[in-house]
Subunit: 152 residues, 2 copies
């Protein structure tokens, strides 16, 4: 192997090792906590439990849904119970793809599918989301910013 | 003033000071660089300059537009020149609202308006966006994840 190729191989091997490095214990714990948050999100949305859903949000949270301007917690506290009552969800699956931890911030990106029950009819939705999470004083993670849109 | 109220006032004043603390020099520089990136984004989109637009993205960038699945750089390199040619934009204004720096990551959230020229007719669009930016080896910031949706 020529020296140039050897150097190249070493660089590639180093890059591969770097990207494949295992998460630190703290990062693995944070990532698991954020995965659990998405499981809770699914469960409480399907249960129609507005209070449990709102408890997933940071006190300064802002939701950015399609079709309406961004809304903060005051608007969410009014809108979520109405929305959950008007549009039940019989199935929901959230699949995180990226979760990056950066100190007391994290971001998550992924896909979702859901079955909304609209006027007695099932409506299948699927889309993608990006979320900023903020570490709370007690170490837990809450939703700080959340935006999503349809894939269709 | 009662002791209890004095304590409360001190806590509130401390909280206000904390939230109003100026950014560090590095954070201020990073925030300014990210604001400049949005100005360049507007300029190159209005100019229809696909190469300059693609240069704003991290090599592992993923765009998450409404109505289609998420797409990586290979798809963007094909899609952006076609999209810019098909739908010129005569006006665009991006208004960042939050910019948070977390080490080599940053996130930005904001609003946009644009005038798209579709079949010779002006179509006014407005919406909101959330973007993850990644610090590059040379210290510059590039777009790593970008998602947006309409306010209408």
């Amino acid at each position: 192997m020529k020296r140039r190729n050897l150097l190249f191989s070493t660089v590639v091997a180093t890059m591969t090792l770097t990207t494949a490095l295992p998460l630190s214990a703290g990062q693995a714990e944070d990532t698991a906590a954020i995965r659990d948050l998405w499981k809770t999100y699914q469960t409480v949305r399907m249960a129609g439990d507005a209070d449990a859903y709102l408890a997933l949000w940071d006190e300064n949270g802002i939701q950015m849904p399609p079709g309406v301007p961004a809304r903060g917690m005051d608007a969410l506290k009014v809108g979520v119970p109405k929305g959950f009552a008007a549009v039940p969800v019989s199935q929901m699956e959230i699949t995180p793809i990226d979760i990056e931890i950066a100190g007391d911030w994290a971001f998550a990106r992924g896909e979702y599918t859901a079955t909304q029950v609209v006027g007695g009819n099932d409506v299948e939705v699927d889309g993608k989301f990006m979320t900023i999470l903020k570490r709370q004083d007690d170490g837990s993670w809450k939703i700080y910013r959340d935006i999503f849109n349809s894939n269709k």
